[in-house]
Each structure stands twice: as structure tokens, then as C-alpha cells.
């Protein structure tokens, strides 16, 4: 598999970044709920927030990489099919996912750095508190962090459902190309499939 994206396919870097971010999101959300529900004497009372902070900063770094990579190697065009409105909507959801992820990461950072302390990332390095705090910043940032995280999960669900719709209902390779698989040959005879067949032959020959 090539590293960069082409007009039709995702390269390894985009695919890896996408799934790493997905994994982190699906881990961080329940971890956040879990860590705020723990008793003081629970063995994870200290470790869970430590992990959440470290993974959160990791997510922020991956997100920055992803945004940079979008400019270096733009993602493939959406596949034909689907109405203009749907394609527009998909674009909005993708933009929304990026925005929410960024806002959640930043608001989380602002909770932990509200007293001037940096965030320690797994003992590897510390992200310093860079912004001047305002009064009760940890509370405001905390409220934002929670509301946006719940919204993100809603949007992620929509995003995942849409991917499944592409795969099972539209039977197009939208989901498969994010999995790095050559396009699935399906029963439908369309131009796109012919193209995928030639692509498949090229890869295996």
C-alpha cells in the first residue's frame, strides 16, 4: 500500500491516523465517564485520569498530524453516487468531527492547566500550561468538555452509520477503502466497479 492518498484511495498514513483517532475517541469517552465515577479509594482513582490526560494529548498530536497530512496529501474525492445534499452533509459531518475533536482536546487541556500546572504525558514529557487562566476556568472548560464529548459521540455514531450504509446499502467501497482493502467486487455493474476491478488486477499481478 502506498503511504500517500491518491484520487481514488487512501494511503497507509491517512488510514492509520483515522483508525488511531477512532480508537482513542472510543477509549477516551468511556474512560472519562469511568474516572469521574470512581471512589476515592479505588485503585484506578489516580491512574485513570493520568491515562485520560496522556491519551488526550496523544489524540491532540495525532489530530494535528492528520490536519497537516490533509494538506500534504489530500484525501480522495468522495465516490460518485448519493445526492449532492448527502455529499454536502457528509462534508459537514467530517468538518464537525475535526472541530469537535479539536475543541474537546483544547477544553480538556484547559481543565488540567487552569492552575498553571502542565500535563504530564506518561512520564515522557510535560505539556506546559501556556494560556493565562481566567476565574473558575476549570469549571467552564469542564462543562464544555463534557457537552462537546457527548455531541462528538452522537456525530461519531452518525458517521459510522453512514459508513455502514455505504457498505451494505449503497454497496460502494467507501468503507473498504478506509480499511485499505482493494475495492470489493459486487454484483452491481457500474463504472466504478469496472474501475475497481482493474485496480484489483493491478495490485495482485
Amino acid at each position: 500500500m502506498r503511504l500517500g492518498n491518491t484520487r481514488q484511495t487512501y494511503g497507509a498514513i491517512s488510514i492509520a491516523l483515522h483508525w488511531l483517532v477512532a480508537l482513542l475517541v472510543l477509549g477516551l469517552f468511556p474512560l472519562g465517564l469511568y474516572m469521574t465515577s470512581l471512589d476515592y479509594y479505588h485503585p484506578w482513582y489516580q491512574a485513570a485520569p493520568h491515562l485520560h490526560r496522556g491519551l488526550g494529548i496523544t489524540l491532540l498530536l495525532l489530530l494535528s498530524l492528520r490536519l497537516c497530512w490533509r494538506f500534504i496529501s489530500p484525501p480522495p474525492r468522495p465516490l460518485d453516487g448519493g445526492s449532492r445534499l448527502l455529499r454536502r452533509l457528509a462534508g459537514l459531518v467530517h468538518g464537525g468531527l475535526y472541530l469537535l475533536l479539536l475543541a474537546i482536546a483544547v477544553s480538556g487541556y484547559l481543565i488540567s492547566t487552569a492552575d498553571g500546572r502542565g500535563i504530564e504525558v506518561f512520564g515522557w514529557f510535560t505539556v506546559p500550561a501556556l494560556l493565562p487562566a481566567f476565574k473558575d476556568m476549570e469549571d467552564a472548560a469542564g462543562d464544555v468538555h463534557f457537552v462537546l464529548a457527548v455531541s462528538l459521540i452522537g456525530l461519531v455514531a452518525l458517521h459510522a452509520l453512514a459508513a455502514l450504509k455505504h457498505h451494505f446499502i449503497d454497496r460502494d467501497p467507501t468503507l473498504m477503502r478506509m480499511l485499505g482493502k482493494p475495492r470489493r467486487v459486487t454484483g452491481r455493474a457500474t463504472g466504478a466497479i469496472t474501475e475497481s476491478e482493474t485496480f484489483f488486477t493491478k495490485e495482485t499481478s
Partner: protein
């Protein structure tokens, strides 16, 4: 003559009635922060966590000749809790502890003051914290009183008391060593 006598008596009576009550009103000097509401609670039983409430106001009446007539009232903003750690303060403001969204004020109103020594006394009163009102007792020591260098008159006290978290409906369990919190209060009043 008789009229004159009555007039004098009335005047004298009026003077007595109009004479200032001897208890003096002091406003606690929170403006220039010569007053502190601090707390101290055990961390696991191995060390202490210290913190304070940064916003409060209050006043007291004190009569040097009759200290047992003294009264105090103080209002504290629980959201101003400050333990020098933003994440902990956020937790302290949450429903696990002070639930400041719902209980935006804590108040203390004295009900009696008993002199126990030259400069000491026992102040009793009602503390309302997290929506629960309970009687508490504060051991009080007068630190000093006198003119300040800027033309005023000041009087200062310190006091200590202990509260059980559960008594005020604080649900968080911090362990067996931390069921109670110690309060250290020090106030400087400026005579009005």
C-alpha cells in the same frame, strides 16, 4: 419651676436613651484580606490538605464591657474554594462535595458567646453549609485590638472548629482518617 424640672428630667431621659449602645459594630476586613477562612483535612491519614475560601464577608458586634453579648455573622461563597489545584477545586465544587450550583452560599450566625478566659471564649451558632443548618461551636481567642496607623480601630480574633463532612450531607468518602475537616478562621474587624 415644676415645668422646668419635668423638662430637665425628660431631657436627661432622652440623653440616656439616645446614648450609643455600648456594643460596637466591626466589619470584617475582607477588602484588604485581613481575614481568612481556612480548612485542613487529612489526606489518607498521612498528611494534610489545606485550602481556603477566598470570598466571604461578615461583621461582628463586640462590647468590651460585656463580651458575652457579642454576635457574629459571616457569609461564605463556597465556589471560591481554593486548594491550590484546579482539578481538585473543580471536584470540591461538584456534587461530591459542596454542590455550589445548588448551594451558592454558606452562612454562620452566632447564637451565643460564652467567655472562658481572659481572651478566650466559646462561640456557638448555626452553620448552613450545602443546604444543611446545624449548630456548631467555635473556640475563639482574641488576638488583639487597638488603633491602626491610619486613623481606625481594629479588633482581631481567631477560631477553630471541626465539622464532620457527613453532618452537612457531603457524600464523598475520603477514607476513615478524613471524616472530619478542621476549620481555622481568623478575622480582623474594623470598627465602624
Amino acid at each position: 419651676m415644676k415645668k422646668r424640672l419635668i423638662f430637665s428630667l425628660l431631657t436627661a431621659a432622652g440623653m440616656v436613651l439616645a446614648a450609643p449602645v455600648s456594643a460596637e459594630r466591626y466589619v470584617i476586613d475582607t477588602q484588604n484580606a485581613h481575614a481568612f477562612v481556612q480548612f485542613k483535612i487529612a489526606h489518607l491519614g498521612y498528611s494534610w490538605v489545606l485550602g481556603r475560601f477566598n470570598q466571604f464577608e461578615g461583621s461582628f458586634d463586640y462590647d468590651e464591657n460585656n463580651p458575652s453579648a457579642s454576635t457574629v455573622s459571616v457569609t461564605v461563597n463556597p465556589a471560591s474554594v481554593d486548594s491550590n489545584h484546579a482539578e481538585r477545586d473543580k471536584h470540591l465544587r461538584s456534587q461530591d462535595f459542596l454542590k455550589v450550583d445548588e448551594f451558592a452560599q454558606a452562612t454562620f450566625t452566632s447564637t451565643s458567646y460564652a467567655v472562658t478566659g481572659d481572651n478566650t471564649g466559646l462561640l456557638k451558632g448555626d452553620l448552613t453549609l450545602r443546604g444543611v443548618t446545624r449548630p456548631i461551636s467555635i473556640d475563639v481567642t482574641q488576638i488583639g485590638a487597638g488603633k491602626d496607623p491610619w486613623g481606625g480601630f481594629r479588633r482581631g480574633f481567631e477560631g477553630t472548629t471541626r465539622l464532620a463532612l457527613a453532618d452537612f450531607g457531603i457524600p464523598m468518602d475520603l477514607g476513615p482518617a478524613a471524616r472530619e475537616v478542621e476549620l481555622f478562621l481568623t478575622v480582623e474587624g474594623i470598627r465602624q
